[in-house]
Symmetry: C2
Subunit: 327 residues, 2 copies
């Protein structure tokens, strides 16, 4: 065997060592959060992730416990002037009213169209029940393909916040499991969570209506009933997290007081914890709202963030870009 | 550059190709199911797994959809003469009766001790509620460490079926996500699922009682309330699966008629499907029971397995070993 051949025989080991050595460097070389400005929000995220993933650090958390939870409406995508699921319910109700006028009382429809929250909740129930789960999912998928935001004139699925999508990917690349924990309907969100966020259905927690297993034409189906089962909002969020994950998250991201208890529950645990609030202060690129808003009201969160060690993300300052460029 | 050097420069690619080519061979070399006898049950499992993982085959299923669900009591571990959680409830109730006799009516305790199912369910409620989730989990963990099976004289956690544990690992190695779907209490099972089955808390679906988020001494806790929330049995199993996974499984494993609908729901989907029933016909090494049994009654499943294409696993014939050797 020549020297060259002998050297060649070492290649597999050399290659393996090289691949292992290069992997972290390659990741570090390209910025994982390109849409985030240098500033306190970005710094806090990176500092936290580096601390919990450093196997020699005292804040180290094994991958199985790296659970990060995200509110959806207003945290991962836009919720103004009306959250996506309400727009869907209004559209469905208008369709129902056309084909069977008696099925949707017009005062209810009118109130909902003006943004009355109670009327909207009733419409959601009316339009989301009495179908099988498969039929419902198909209806949402079809509608999602054509629906456009009224003022931004883009598909809703393009109105996800690019910096938050980068954050989801950055956490996943660092061994986190990322979860959606939203007041929105769980079966509604599961139709698009994988495609737009890379989050599979089993990691979506949301509000739900009751369902029943039954046989129809000799085939088993799951039927959606017009009765609320679980409201995944405020105190409901830690309950939903405990019910479905069975572990306390170490990082939580929200934008409204509906997320307060989720952040409270998450950051009350021992060890390194991250609580962050997306603050909508960017009227130019998105919307500006907090204390007075009907949708996404943020008051207690703003008042207590400092004392609780939560970081407020100013959209205006922290994000170089809000949305990805239109396709 | 010499010819040898040029050849060397190809090594990384060659190595990568070699690693890819060798990986399946290396897996095949060591039998992943050593406790399974050659026979129809084992053959059916291997044939199914090879079919859905063959990227060129027409039964191919991408990893994200390789969902396999398992009943727990009687399917993954022994449930006779009394399932583990009932033994726990009895022990807890006896403790409660000692320290506060009024808290547990003695006729209830006596009936439960005789195996009365309704009395046992009442005892479970009585002993599982009015604690925080953290306190409850700690109580289960402590008890599990010392509890012994009355006739087999081993810790319950050693009474898992070795062939089923091999099956869980074999499926995981083939890109499946494995889930427990049990009538047992979800918070009860989550205390040991990772350790004994390698299944993390978030992949355990079970029955639950209501919980409430509240502040105690300035700290948030989740409190367990004495009210049933969800019964994960019979028709409840597909409902629980849909609620928590949001996908229809492609493989389901049970042992009693409480698992019938789970197998029905799983195998009614399109494409390759696997439904299997563990049949307790081994009085010598474990227990023999089916049609007449109070616990784990199996009647409809046995009657219809053939017509539905489900495979009955005869413990006596299919398993070389039932339990791992005592530690």
């Amino acid at each position: 065997m020549s020297i060259n051949n002998r050297f060649c025989s070492l290649w597999p080991a050399v290659t393996a060592a090289w691949l292992l050595a290069m992997a972290p460097a390659a990741l570090a070389a390209s910025d994982p959060l390109p849409s985030w400005s240098d500033g306190p929000a970005r710094a806090r995220i990176v500092e936290f992730v580096e601390a919990v993933t450093d196997p020699l650090g005292k804040a180290y958390v094994p991958p199985a416990d790296r659970v990060a939870v995200f509110d959806n409406d207003g945290t991962l995508w836009s919720e103004q002037p009306l959250y996506f699921q309400a727009v869907f319910a209004l559209d469905m109700a208008r369709d129902m009213a056309k084909s069977a006028p008696a099925s949707v009382p017009s005062p209810l429809l009118a109130a909902a169209a003006k943004g009355d929250q109670k009327a909207l909740a009733e419409l959601v129930m009316l339009t989301h029940a009495n179908t099988t789960s498969d039929e419902f999912a198909e209806r949402v998928r079809q509608w999602t393909r054509t629906a456009r935001h009224p003022t931004l004139h883009r598909p809703y699925t393009e109105l996800i916040y690019l910096p938050m999508r980068e954050l989801l990917d950055y956490l996943a690349a660092n061994g986190f499991s990322t979860w959606i924990v939203s007041g929105g309907g769980v079966e509604f969100m599961r139709t698009f969570s994988q495609e737009i966020y890379g989050i599979p259905p089993e990691r979506v927690i949301g509000s739900s209506i009751k369902t029943r297993y039954e046989m129809r034409d000799g085939k088993p189906v799951i039927v959606r009933l017009p009765e609320l089962e679980f409201l995944d909002d405020k105190e409901g969020k830690p309950v939903g997290i405990h019910k479905q994950i069975g572990k306390r998250p170490i990082a939580a991201f929200g934008n409204s007081d509906g997320d307060f208890q989720m952040l409270e529950w998450t950051t009350a645990g021992s060890g390194a914890r991250l609580g962050m609030i997306v603050h909508h202060d960017d009227a130019e690129r998105e919307f500006a709202y907090d204390r007075g808003s009907h949708i996404g009201k943020l008051e207690r969160g703003l008042d207590e963030a400092g004392a609780r060690g939560w970081t407020v993300i100013s959209m205006k300052d922290a994000w170089k870009q809000v949305y990805a460029p239109a396709r």
